[in-house]
Symmetry: C2
Subunit: 159 residues, 2 copies
């Protein structure tokens, strides 16, 4: 019987294990600081977390379907729809019906949306760099590879 | 010049790097699924994310100061104060002034609070186990060790 089976059969309590050994706790603390590092500039740009994440995803996959954007941005569909509506009003994105299925909408960055991203990206680079300070490139690569496996384990969508 | 310095001096764009190689994106996606796995039971218990996190932290450090609880639970002080107020009303925690500084409040789990945790903890164990499925104990330990270094890098408090 391996350790993982033991863990499920007779899980140690969080109090026995300690917060510092519980990965979800550590990830929450770390992401809390990462998000805090972006907050001031985000607010100055008139953005919220869902809007900021949607814009960042669009720099990688411009023209993605709204329903996919919700998954990539880790924002509930209804919240994401409102965020996209506000971004359209603010001139940061535009929507277009899909060429093949005109009930499905695709979202594209405008020049203003691209500029907003260019103001946020350097802060993301700094926040990300602070997290990994003093951690070797090899360790960073191993860490990211584990995260990629974890995402494949838990994602509900095939992307 | 090491790679990390290069990265800050001339950061690659997210579009060049790809979402799948950007650790904060991966951590967001993963924590989004972890939180979703707990949501139904959390709602059934009449809890919110800040309340649930506060209760979980208290199983490890019962009687912690409110201001420390906010940091451990990764919830803003004002939100945490409201969550604690609601938990007191619901009979899940009690507050007591600190013995030495009676302006400072300490928070303690009640039996009902302990029971709520005992309903949630097995779900956390399962959600955490799903994330690490097929990932060796050695890789999990290395991953958690990297997270601990990252937390030391970015935390603002000495805990």
């Amino acid at each position: 019987m391996n350790k993982q089976t033991d863990l499920i059969a007779d899980p140690p309590k969080l109090g026995e294990m300690g917060l510092e050994n519980y990965a979800p706790y550590l990830m929450n603390r770390i992401m809390g600081r990462y998000n805090a590092a972006l907050r001031d500039e985000m607010v100055a740009l008139g953005l919220t977390t869902p809007k900021m994440r949607a814009l960042a995803v669009l720099t990688v996959m411009d023209g993605v379907m709204i329903r996919e954007l919700a998954v990539y941005a880790v924002v509930e569909q209804s919240t994401l729809s409102r965020a996209v509506e506000a971004l359209v009003q603010g001139g940061l994105v535009r929507r277009e019906p899909d060429a093949e299925d005109n009930r499905a909408m695709r979202v594209f960055l405008t020049d203003a949306g691209r500029e907003a991203n260019e103001r946020l990206w350097p802060l993301m680079v700094v926040a990300n760099g602070s997290m990994f300070k003093g951690i070797s490139n090899e360790e960073q690569r191993a860490f990211t590879a584990t995260l990629q496996k974890m995402l494949r384990n838990i994602r509900k969508h095939n992307f």
